[in-house]
Subunit: 159 residues, 2 copies
Amino acid sequence: MAEKRNANPSSLGTSPHLGEVLEFMQLLWAVVHEMQSISKRMHAQLGVTGPQRLVIRILGRLPGLTAGQLAAVLHLHPSTLTGVLARLEEKQILERRPDPVDGRRAILFLTAAGRRFDALRAGTVEHGVQRALARLGHSHTATTRRTLRILLEELERTS
Amino acid sequence: MAEKRNANPSSLGTSPHLGEVLEFMQLLWAVVHEMQSISKRMHAQLGVTGPQRLVIRILGRLPGLTAGQLAAVLHLHPSTLTGVLARLEEKQILERRPDPVDGRRAILFLTAAGRRFDALRAGTVEHGVQRALARLGHSHTATTRRTLRILLEELERTS
DNA sequence: CCCATGTCAGTATCACTGAAATAA
DNA sequence: CTTATTTCAGTGGTACTGACATGG
């Protein structure tokens, strides 16, 4: 069964028949899919998904964010974030307190358990990204970041 | 402690407090999320999602693929592809014929309706990618493709 | 008998739309 | 009253694991 591991990738994985844009699409969706895949594995092994862990990491750096601010950082719809936060609160990873200044808002903090998740590295998406960045080197990393930002901008324009 | 941290709210999107890897993660998840978002909008407006359309585009170029081959091209688990194909078949976009050579296999073809979807451009993920690639230029496109491939490899190693 | 191909059932997260509740 | 913030209900697609049917 390990035999089926793309015996000849050059004919399928990078098929010359697909054309530049389509090949790029294939690659992009493969990355997207792989991120979701790892996210799924993380959930089975560690108990949190990729997006959930990103929330944890960001709150570790910026405690006391409101839900709306966090949604903006993540480019997420507020109603999507609600579900993510509910799952994290259920697992007692995150604490939601009412903002004393503005009662509509919730401000967000990690619990002690949350800080332990913040410190994890093995088996996370981040771990793979870290290796990729190391392999790319510092200048390529900056270039890639600019490229991703351009891609993101143009995707956001597709409305 | 009465430190006012309400610096530019716009600096949140590119916050300097996050660090290189975490910023990269944020950007990467933003791209992933935007792809899913557009996919959702496509489904509402055109009737097919992003992954479904990628299947259509690839089958348009390579008709007669088997399900297993297609799963390999897409880096998808066969059982995931089953659902995608079922939805496309239901919409009569795709036709599944038994392989005359090997009865376990199904070989896949677009219907006439499927070929119309293959020709669409407006409002698709591809359209945004195309604009981004045009903006990047040919040499940068090649660089980005290499970078994505490295990223994909390292992500796949996160098992 | 054993392996390969593919489907099916069950489970969970994400991502939206649209409406509603609450507070500024 | 109007606007802002967040939650809630409902819908659908993706992605797996593990079991299974069927053909080579």
